[in-house]
Symmetry: C2
Subunit: 802 residues, 2 copies
Amino acid sequence: MKINQFAIAPMTLADEKKELLAIHFISQADLQLTSHRFLHRLLQQSFPEVTSTEAADGKLANLLAAQQLDARSLTEISADIQPLHILNLYLQLLGFEAGQDFQLDAPEKMAANVNLPKFDHDSLNNADLLHAWYQLLITHTTTGQTFLDQLASRGYYHRLQASVKLPQPLFFNGKAQPVFDTTQLIHEVVYVESSQDSDHDGLLDLLKVEITRPAESNLQPVPVLYTASPYNQGTNDAAGDALTHNVNVPLTEKPVTASTLSDTSKQPVQLPDPRVVNGHTDQADEIFGNSFDYSLNDYFLARGFAVVYAAGIGTKESDGLRTTGDPEETTSTIAIIEWLNGKRTAFTNRTANIAIDANWSNHHVAMTGRSYLGTLATAAATTGVDGLKTIICEAGISSWYDYYRENGLVIAPGGFPGEDADVLAEETFSRQQQAGDYSRVEQKWQRQLAAIKTGQDRDTGNYNDFWDVRNYRKNAKNIKADVMIVHGLNDWNVKPRNAEKLWRAISGLPINHKIILHQGPHIYINNFRSLDFTDMVNLWLSHELYDLDNHAEKILPDVLIQNNTQIESWQAYPDWGATSNPTAHYNLTTKGLSTETTSQETVQFDDQLDDSNFQQYAKNNAQWQQDLVKSQSPLAGHRQIFQAPAQTDTLVIDGCAKLHLSVASNQPIGLISTELVDLGSFKRLNPLPTTLARQAMVLGYHYRKEDLREFQLAKKATPYQLISKAHMNLQNRTSLTQVDTVKPGVTYPITLELQPTHYQLTAGHQLALIVYATDFGMTVRGNQKITYTLSLANSWLELPHL
Amino acid sequence: MKINQFAIAPMTLADEKKELLAIHFISQADLQLTSHRFLHRLLQQSFPEVTSTEAADGKLANLLAAQQLDARSLTEISADIQPLHILNLYLQLLGFEAGQDFQLDAPEKMAANVNLPKFDHDSLNNADLLHAWYQLLITHTTTGQTFLDQLASRGYYHRLQASVKLPQPLFFNGKAQPVFDTTQLIHEVVYVESSQDSDHDGLLDLLKVEITRPAESNLQPVPVLYTASPYNQGTNDAAGDALTHNVNVPLTEKPVTASTLSDTSKQPVQLPDPRVVNGHTDQADEIFGNSFDYSLNDYFLARGFAVVYAAGIGTKESDGLRTTGDPEETTSTIAIIEWLNGKRTAFTNRTANIAIDANWSNHHVAMTGRSYLGTLATAAATTGVDGLKTIICEAGISSWYDYYRENGLVIAPGGFPGEDADVLAEETFSRQQQAGDYSRVEQKWQRQLAAIKTGQDRDTGNYNDFWDVRNYRKNAKNIKADVMIVHGLNDWNVKPRNAEKLWRAISGLPINHKIILHQGPHIYINNFRSLDFTDMVNLWLSHELYDLDNHAEKILPDVLIQNNTQIESWQAYPDWGATSNPTAHYNLTTKGLSTETTSQETVQFDDQLDDSNFQQYAKNNAQWQQDLVKSQSPLAGHRQIFQAPAQTDTLVIDGCAKLHLSVASNQPIGLISTELVDLGSFKRLNPLPTTLARQAMVLGYHYRKEDLREFQLAKKATPYQLISKAHMNLQNRTSLTQVDTVKPGVTYPITLELQPTHYQLTAGHQLALIVYATDFGMTVRGNQKITYTLSLANSWLELPHL
């Protein structure tokens, strides 16, 4: 078990002492004790469950400082306290089992896997012990949290606060501590009046906001974690399924155009006047019970942060209509921040017009959440709205075109063929769940849905005005908030391009920005055992929202990437996909990918399958993906595979590969798909993390719990792993916004930029490029009789690497 | 969606009114309102989130009483309030979506699926509305709990208790309400001194107990849910795996004996004196943080019950040694009850000998939990210990022989080949996790493990003294506690025989007993949407532990069985597997199972497989099971399948099928296995329930949550389903405790009693009996050259049915 910690703030011994005194882990008097009595004190403090010394001694007797020497005895004998003793106790306190996870005669061997203190002399004194215990408190246990966080969950602060008034917030090693009373959280609802009338009912939209905050915020304002989640008030899954588009439709020829964008600017909209405020109150009118929970948010509630969820326009108990990511939705997203920042009106309910201020907010807001939630965090940041100090954007969309389209093609998010902007709008239009409300807005909603359907234009897949206003990156220059991006390198739902292009767009801005890339698909990572992600976010937010000078911006690596070749391995890098990366040049040849030879031949593949294979793959996309890579499969003749020789040493691909092809279609239409894969029978990381221990992470004393998870190596070897992919409509070969004619039989040069990645191809693995047309998981599936011809002489792959 | 409720207590209108007044849902003054204003009041009370009438009116406007008529308008117009209006509102309040789940013009059609009030006149008055709302409150929502429980989770009692002092406990419709403050739960640890010294250290064993109880129990004692869980303090999974026995070993001939039991009675043991009590206190010395949670227990914490977990002898921070179910473990299990009942000493810690009483306990204890936990509940009940009022035994073992053995064979629990009593002892000996404690007890433990290994006697599989003392049913007559059994009819871990034989053993006792049989394997069922299991337990425990005269014993069906042929279907029966059931007689013939003809032929099968098949099945038990049933498979010739004609109408198998065989082995050893299966390509229930909605069941206001689950029909047809099975060592053909010689070539009559079941075989399905030897999932796998010969003339199947 290897535990990687990146959020440890370096401290001097003097500061370590100061902080241990501040959390009352030691007292000044303790420092005067003999080292044996001081050790006893430190050990006793490590069992916050017990109050009496007798009870503590029972616990101490169950720890071994060495073979035949338990901790209690160690504190009672006169012999020296040795590094070995302390390391053994340290590891046991962290949850490692003597004899199983480590050996009592060589605990120092664990230094490669866990943060251990170093000692340069044999007989340890109080300063050594103090340093060791400070390190112990900030080191991760075997259950994914620091020992101090674990002590808190075992009652440390709970017991302490019965007799001592601790500062709130309280920071230790730069991170906010769980000293706020989670049993007395306040849950309240307000309705923010936005500056929009998206349902055109003559009234500004009211937006429901669910607030959870420590009761202590009544005395002193706290910062806010705000999660904008359109799913938060429920979803219309059946209605969404019903709207899902048939993807077994042909690719059609689309009209030629020099630009898919129009240059008409939108008319300014006349807005209704704000409601007349009938009065002010400090007292909310509404509470709420069950709600969407993100355990990372819950973790911060115990640490002096408020948590706010809002679902936005068109959701249950809010006004307005869903738009799937247009500027209206951004407006509704930032309205909440404006209220939290004291610059907008909210009401206690939807009718009485009694205003209520967020006077419990310190006006510092961070946005959190994954997927659509992270998307709206990005959208909000690109407005430069005041009060938004940082966003933690997990698996967010930075341009909706990159979610539902690619290079002039309709390209589904992985796992959701036939989904589109209209489907998602319908799914999230939770006003529909309330028959009374829906009956009043149904006609407008059907018109809106029709407009989205028209705007998204599945017929062409073009990057038109509809998509252009949903490209947040156009406004990246407005971003003032610091940005932390988290994305899965194997996320085929929100593809990595969304993260990479945002990362590039903000790289030159005068803000702090960090990115964490993991090996998962579309998941949260705050419950991994091998990474102190939660601590990293704590360090970051303590800095961003409490203005704590903890050097988070320097301590946290700018780029942190999980290794794909081994478990529990995370590495810091200066950049991801830097444009200055060298590139390897692989020619496409009849003998595979080659850095040396070229081929002058042409090769062909035909897209049409016999009906039974087609039907099977249409039902079972996973089977299609497997067969696509297999050399012998029903897809032979329907794709071209170019294999490189097996690697003799490690190649670290970093950034966006580019595929240059010379290609002809025998029809006036055509699409090209490509996959870059890692071939070879090896045990790779599982696609999803394994739950190691249910409910093992405890976020506070008898507070919220979380499963502990980790990527593990597959028990069986797999034949390949997908590295990256890309798709292009041949009519869009010139540019994204230009549509050309495809003349049957004419060979065109095209360039596909594959999804960005960071992938270690180790010795023995074999790189392969597959060129094909219909992608059963993502493109339309016309099963048309189209033959593609590749001229190999002018076809090559450019591979950026470290 | 069909919701089955069995815990609804029938009420008179007068009682309904009384209870609605008692929970302040209505006031006496409300009853004087006009029906329209009374309806407004009832509706407003249905939105506990809001305080003001303005805010409530906003919510009301979102409900439709009819097309074009929202609830708010209904309360303001003069037209009659009609049944249609109320049913529409009722269904929407329960979470059903108008237009989707039901139609606004015909809500009464939902009466088949959900508890709806009936009205015999058109214009509803206050009495009608009162009755409707009472029924609404006790009816299940779409998220698996009563509407009143949902209101509680939305803040109903939380808000009410800010101004009104409610009685604690408070009952509604016979069930305890969540009116205890879950934010102020007390968590404490005590050490009960047991009347045993199972680790022979000269001191009576101290047993760690973790108590969670409402703070209100300091004022008035509360009853206790006690879960004895050997897993509760951690498990040694790796060490257990290391001990797991190789099952690829031959079946061997065992010595002939007239009885596998000895008649030597055990010597009485000389026990150490109890510790001298140094003092008494009311104040616990130790708290605890994270702990094992069973959400059913948590549900009751909010309702005025304490919850106690203890792991027993040999677990972390307790004394003693693990035994896997012997009387020592039972003694340690009931020691906790004796303390809770005021009849035993506990100490605040392990050293100071300061006694602490459970003066917060009302001396009424129920035991809960599944698997080993339910097993220990059964063990405790068979002692007749005072204070134990009832056990809710979920998937419990009633005789350990039935868990690890069968008819003279080692038979693994499904999914755990090679596990045995010693493996489980090692896994649960969590004292091992503390190096200091373990170093002092290691030698004794290794001796104990060796003794268990000898005692369990894998070499013979005999029912010997070791197993006899682990057969709780021998003491069933001592049971004084009422018993509720819950078991999965597809539980191949703790097999249904454990439930059925316990059920039979207690049937004649002067206690109340109930049994619930579901279609799952080894799972909990308190989060099913289709069944009000939690309410049933609430009704039961309010009666058992609070002595509430709610007629639980009459209201709850004695036998409740989930239907295997359709989703969401539960039916009450007078008994399960009654000995008076008629039986069908099927002859084994060369043409299959026949009720009409017989065969005089013999048929054979050979147990030995070629090595590659053997290796594959040994690694992949699921593949073996599939191939066993398939007519064409590598197992042809290695088993005999007897198919009955397809059913022309439904046959309800109920109880234990018996297979009478005349069988010869060509070796001096032999084992016979049999499976009864349901053949035919049909969509059957999935083996496991599906999670319908994560964290959708909320057990109190911002308290514990639970996923909502339900069995669904498989999306694809499956070729068969296992109904039951059995195994026998031919040396045990005479009786369980007699071992005979098997003479090669001699035909012996044997009778196998299959696991009990309740199974509906509907038209088109085909019953099949498979006779074979090695069971790759359960028996040893010797792959020996043994040929079995069945004489069909004297072979038949007896099938009990309704």
